[in-house]
Amino acid sequence: MKTNFIKTVGKIALILVPAITLSMNASAHDPKMHAKKAEKADCSKMDHSKMDMKDPVAVAMMKKCMKQSKSSMEKMDHSKMKEMDHSKMKGMDHSKMKGMDHSKMEKKENKKANSDDHQNH
């Protein structure tokens, strides 16, 4: 009897402790933190000239930003954009993207460096 009771109390504690801590997730006191949970990527601060395109982090950032700009382009109504002059789009300077190999970006995985994890350190 008694051991059963102890087991039950133990189980209740095991469930309650994580449940309560988890449910308190939203109670951080800096109100800025609950202002907006889902933010768009801020791609404006990316400096392409400093990015090493062999680094998975850099490639992942490019992908995120490309996907994001694509999805916002899709929402535009292109039929209404008369006389759009592409030659004036000079925001992106590809010559500054060192080591960027576009042929590699299509692939699902970036296989580099996994044979030797330590070279990153």
């Binding site: 992942a60 950032m61 995120k64 994001q68 995985e109 996994n114």
Partner: protein
């Protein structure tokens, strides 16, 4: 016969003193009251040994892909950063109030990290999947696929190297 009797008495005594300690209420379960050094050491050694043993046969996949970082980044920001912090966020209610304290996963722990990258990866995978009892660390495996958990392992591996700007881009929603 005599030895058996003594053993029985000892058992009974042990049980009785354990019950006394339990029901007297002298054990303080408050999270703002740290364990004594000896209790802390006992719990920590037990936890480390358990994780090491349970994780030893887990096969670690390739963790170097950008897709994994993106998948794991979004999940980390949403589910983990309130406890385990992120670049630019050095403390939160959770990181201060929980005991045991959630480790800050956005800074590198090279000084006290034991084992290879691979060992660390499989141990992190196991902890994320199964959680840690009575600590506030949930078992995410009940609600998330192994693939998503490996993605978080991959993300955590790079997390200490990320600037706040890199973190923001990687973890933003699409």
């Amino acid at each position: 016969m005599k030895a058996l009797k003594i053993l029985l008495i000892l058992l009974l005594l042990g049980g009785a003193s354990a019950a006394t300690v339990m029901y007297s209420g002298i054990v303080n379960v408050a999270a703002d009251e740290p364990h004594s050094d000896i209790v802390y050491w006992l719990l920590e050694e037990t936890r480390e040994a358990s994780i090491k043993k349970s994780a030893q046969h887990i096969k670690v996949p390739d963790l170097e892909s950008p897709e994994l970082l993106l998948m794991g980044g979004a999940d980390y920001e949403y589910m983990c950063s309130s406890c385990h912090l992120k670049p630019g966020l050095e403390e939160s209610d959770m990181s201060i109030g929980l005991y045991p304290q959630p480790p800050n996963l956005s800074i590198s722990h090279e000084t006290h990290q034991h084992g290879t990258d691979e060992e660390l990866a499989r141990q992190n995978f196991w902890v994320i999947k199964h959680g840690i009892k009575a600590s506030g660390m949930p078992a995410w495996g009940k609600t998330h696929s192994d693939e998503r958990i490996w993605a978080m392992v991959a993300f955590i591996k790079r997390l200490p190297t990320l600037t706040p700007e890199q973190y923001q881009v990687l973890t933003a929603i699409d």
